[in-house]
Symmetry: C2
Subunit: 74 residues, 2 copies
DNA sequence: TCAAATATAGGCAAATTTGCTTACAATGTA
DNA sequence: TACATTGTAAGCAAATTTGCCTATATTTGA
């Protein structure tokens, strides 16, 4: 099976998430709690090791108080 | 396990993909070929039955010749 | 320096996505 | 009507994501 993972893109989005999180001065733990997901998951997303889903992006965007498309502004 | 799927959001993105595809007058089969994915996958994404990944969004955006964030402009 | 806070890493099981395939419905056209 | 095109549906196996957990590294502050 051929599973598409665009490393460049995934890492860029992760970087963007981290950037916005730090702008808001919150820890991964805080963001994870707000989003009701695991810290390790936030870490994986920010480091770009996983190719996360639309819903996670929407969830994180909501809790970073930005429009989901802002997370893809890379 | 609690897996997050935001039906509203996923369906909205699917609608947006369809909208852009039709604007370009191409079939699902054509888009699928361009993206090198399955037709059934395009269908699932447009109907919002799956919560697809960042890389798929980027892939589809590329082949619809829009910025990935335009697919999340919902 | 030491301790606390923060971030990274990895394993496991369950859930989902995806490619692949076949079948069928819907739509349009001659 | 008949035919082709287009889109929907569903099942299966493989791959990935995710939650949960524990452990370790890194950073920060007193």
């Amino acid at each position: 099976m051929r599973y598409l993972r665009d490393d460049r893109f995934v890492k860029a989005v992760g970087k963007r998430v981290r950037q916005l999180r730090l702008q808001r001065n919150i820890s991964q733990a805080q963001l994870a709690a707000d989003c009701d997901i695991e810290i390790s998951q936030v870490s994986r997303i920010e480091r770009g090791v996983i190719n996360t889903s639309l819903s996670q992006i929407n969830n994180i965007a909501k809790n970073l108080k930005v429009h989901p498309k802002d997370l893809l502004d890379v």
